[in-house]
């Protein structure tokens, strides 16, 4: 296997692993508002997340910026929390800010936070040669995210089918809205508990 492919594999595995719950939940929160036919919008948002992720990773690994791990560990669940809350609060995306087209920017900014999550680790590990491992790792992460997104759409399609067959007695809220609220609430709840656990301002009771 070539060196590049090895690091692509490493990045891919890092995202599709069960231990990557924070990453997977964030992707689920990003995808929750879309229907399978909106896959291009979702892909655009996820790619913006990768761009943000790659920028911080490169800056932190090359030593341009130094970020305190404890703060980043706290900010990661906060980004998931905000995404979940935004899903719940914004009922009509057509009338939202910029017609709801701010999401890629939003995902890109949050990607900056997530990328810092393991930058210190990679910085130590790839101390002598960075460019190829870092590039391969980021490509692997993007491929892993597309894979997770595919699964997320499958889950969302299943939820939609379930809600449609439930024959709700009323026309509103729509099955899509119910799905968005249910998934976002669940994701937000998990992220909220992580944020409390990792808060630098919190003393356990």
């Amino acid at each position: 296997m070539s060196e590049l492919l090895t690091f692509v594999h490493l990045g891919f595995r890092h995202i599709v692993d069960v231990g990557a719950a924070d990453h997977i939940l964030f992707l689920l929160a990003l995808a929750a508002i879309y229907q399978p036919r909106d896959w291009r919008d979702a892909l655009w948002v996820v790619s913006a997340f990768t761009v943000g992720h790659s920028i911080t990773l490169a800056l932190a690994v090359t030593g341009v910026v130094t970020l305190p791990s404890s703060l980043i560990e706290f900010l990661i669940p906060i980004t998931i929390l905000i995404t979940g809350i935004e899903n719940i609060v914004v009922r009509d995306r057509a009338t939202a800010l910029w017609g709801g087209r701010y999401r890629p920017m939003f995902a890109g900014v949050f990607g900056l936070v997530h990328g810092a999550g393991f930058a210190n680790y990679l910085k130590s590990m790839f101390v002598d040669h960075l460019a190829l491992p870092l590039f391969g790792f980021n490509v692997g992460i993007e491929l892993g995210q597309i894979f997770v997104l595919g699964w997320a759409f499958l889950v969302l399609w299943g939820v939609d089918r379930m809600l449609a067959s439930a024959r709700l007695p009323i026309p509103s809220p729509s099955p899509l809205r119910l799905r968005v609220v249910a998934i976002s609430a669940l994701v937000t709840a998990v992220a909220a508990s992580w944020a409390v656990q990792r808060s630098p301002f919190f003393t356990p009771w």
Binding site: S2, I76, Y121
Partner: protein
Amino acid sequence: MRDLRLARRLRHLADRAACCLIASALVVAPGRSGTRMHPLHTTITTITYDGTSHQATVTVRVFANDLDTAIARRPHGRSPVSSRSSNADSFAYLASVFTAVGPDGRALSVQWCGSRLTGDLLWACLRLAAPRGLSGVRIRNQALVELFDDQVNVVMAEYDGRRESLLFTKGDAAKPLP
């Protein structure tokens, strides 16, 4: 009209349920956790072959704390987790998890050639006697897989003017260098 009222009530109920779920997660959130959100468990090993001495230098990059924990968990692990493991302990551990077998099926002899600590990272040096080169040598690296299910060990070899990489996860068998 009745449907509209019911719909509004259901929508409010869904929103309230969402708020309650989030609030309850905050209340039941256990104490502060020291673990990382999304740890990356990996070791990087480079193998450089010297055709004149017929020896390969293996450099294993591993986080010292993880190595200490793995050594302490061994049946006769002497090193307490709180202190750095001795070179003898590190060698015994690494020689057991990193193996190289020649094309003839015989294990290549491994020697310790030192270590250095850079921050949290330990660079451990092993020397392999490979009189017939590295082509066809079967490598296996199961470092730290007993600690982390998602452990991935990368092995990069440079020999005969080529660079090859192998990737190992928990339970992987030995893989040949082409």
